[in-house]
Symmetry: C2
Subunit: 357 residues, 2 copies
């Protein structure tokens, strides 16, 4: 049932995004295509699902939250477009990232040299993400048409800008900055704060927005169920992120969708790598540092890293933490009445931490 | 009176921006500083002035439009931050541009090499602009607090995203693309469309938003005075832009604020340069093409360009066009009752095209 419902949600969101006329008049045409591209590439649409199901859980009609659900998906996508420029990521959901798509167009259309075309691609990808941020804000404001009151729509829009925009981007900034710090100056709580900001805040917003629309009035903004559902999504998201970090070293490249070891290349102090460093002796720390920052990792080098992560105890600690977080998240849901949407959200928590993708 | 009123408006906008707590919790601190930086650098605050005075002209209290006025200023500034990255501009209002400011911080704080620090500065400047776009949207939504109805606030916010975001960024994209096209494939109307999108649309939005708030109800959105004031601002903006292009070649570097000839360096087909090309014979076109794209221009080289622009008749045509546009803009205002705000807007039109800055 979960998989079917997730597909149904994804199809609904696809339809709203595809039929929206916001991108129609963007010029030139390849900028318009870039604006539509990421939001149309599919993906699991977990954020809309959390939003719609949280709405349903509290007795609201998910249809009234449909524009908000499409908005968070578009919002998520603009952050990906800019992230990919910043991280210089080549792939996104199995296809070239936005700036590489536009690089190719510039080489073909304007006969540009590859490096000039890449700079051009990055410039246009900046603009594509900029338009998408406006598109997301506009989509959310359409909620009035789905029966959400103007007062509530303004409340939700302000939350999007004040909480999500500010904190998510601060989280991204801390993430970029973190590899520049010595391990000695990091702490697990600094790493977890960054994670909470970069991915937790938007997930929390999805659940809270669904809950608020479900309750149907801005007056309910202080209802404790809203905060609880927000906690659920944030905690489940953290569990997902920890599992994702583990998959980034122990996973299967095909299922994971990006190169195994890319966090090592980027010297990204994930909790997993940080704890490995912390639990190693002086020689171990030296060996770990030497293994970080390579452009790519052979099977043998990866095995060396994996051995250190495993034997330090970091692997067990992180996996256990992810499991505990998933359980905490699910426990929060048990305070809610049992219905279809509670079952879907419970399965979602398992899905986020369980699968080997 | 005009200058005093413009200063008063600027001071009011400065105060709103400076006292707003939106940037407070941005991390790390130098990202927060970058978010505050451009909007605090002063400038003429012409956009807020157009908005507030248009509100007053139609009998509204400018105080009710104060958040909208601060919003358009912040909005303008985020586009400048991203423009400066894209154009690789080093200066903005007499100080280093955002990405160069952060480059310096990265060199000092993280001992980065200059080229790595510049890439880091660009990445953080992308994020700073991203936050500013959210800040602007949030500021506009605060209008409810100043007495603008929720319905009208949503209407104005949607206009900001649907008209301004989409068209302004499309205009920026066309501006980046234009130097890649041959003169043969350009037309004056293509160049003017780009100008209208890149700078005209936001100015039109300022006037229309002031007018709508002045009239006080979304029901007035079809009142012909709104469209007329929008036309005024858009036409005055185009006159300003044509004069600005002229100053970019004939102006005084100190007053102009950026290097004279930088449009030539960028091979930017301003209407002035395009017409020079169009009115030149085959040899002249060749000479002009040879003069474009140099990293900088000596007084002698500049004089060669100026001579061509003047003798082709392009200079006279563009200056006359700017003057005609300024007059058309002012004529629109004469349909409105004579009051303090009409006088201010009339002076603004002269200010935009008259001065030698």
């Amino acid at each position: 049932m979960f998989t079917q419902e997730l597909h149904k949600t994804a199809a609904r969101i696809d339809r709203i995004i595809r039929n929206d006329d916001f991108p129609d008049r963007i010029l030139p045409a390849y900028l318009r295509d870039a604006v539509i591209d990421y939001p149309s590439r599919g993906g699991k649409r977990l954020r809309p699902a959390i939003l719609l199901w949280s709405c349903g859980l509290l007795g609201g009609k998910p249809a009234s939250a449909k524009f908000a659900a499409a908005a968070v998906e578009i919002y998520h996508n603009w952050t990906l477009v800019h992230d990919d420029i910043i991280d210089n990521d080549k792939m996104r959901r199995g296809r070239p990232s936005a700036h590489f798509m536009i690089q190719k167009i510039a080489m073909r259309k304007f006969k540009m040299k590859p490096e000039d075309a890449l700079a051009y691609g990055k410039n246009f990808a900046i603009l594509a993400g900029d338009i998408q941020q406006g598109w997301a804000a506009d989509m959310l404001l359409k909620s009035v048409r789905a029966g959400v009151s103007p007062e509530l729509t303004i409340h939700l829009s302000r939350q999007l800008h004040e909480l999500v925009n500010r904190q998510l981007i601060s989280g991204e900034a801390l993430d970029i900055e973190m590899p520049l710090h010595k391990f000695e100056n990091l702490t697990p709580s600094k790493i977890e704060t960054m994670l909470e900001m970069k991915t937790g805040v938007l997930l929390r917003y999805c659940a809270e927005t669904g809950a608020i629309i479900g309750l149907g009035s801005a007056k309910f903004a202080n209802d404790s169920r809203i905060r609880k559902l927000g906690e659920f999504a944030s905690i489940a998201g953290k569990a997902f992120q920890l599992k994702d970090d583990w998959l980034g070293i122990f996973g299967n490249e095909k299922k994971f969708g990006k190169p195994i070891g890319s966090d090592l290349t980027d010297r990204k102090p994930t909790l997993l790598i940080y704890l490995t460093w912390k639990y190693s002796d002086r020689n171990g720390r030296k060996r770990l540092s030497n293994l970080l920052g390579r452009p790519s990792y052979s099977a043998k080098e990866l095995e060396l890293v994996r051995k250190m992560v495993r034997e330090s105890g970091a692997e067990a600690e992180v996996l256990q933490k992810a499991g505990n977080l998933a359980n905490s998240a699910k426990r929060i849901l048990l305070d809610f009445p049992d219905n279809k949407y509670r079952r879907l959200l419970l399965e979602l928590a398992d899905f986020l931490t369980g699968r080997e993708y």
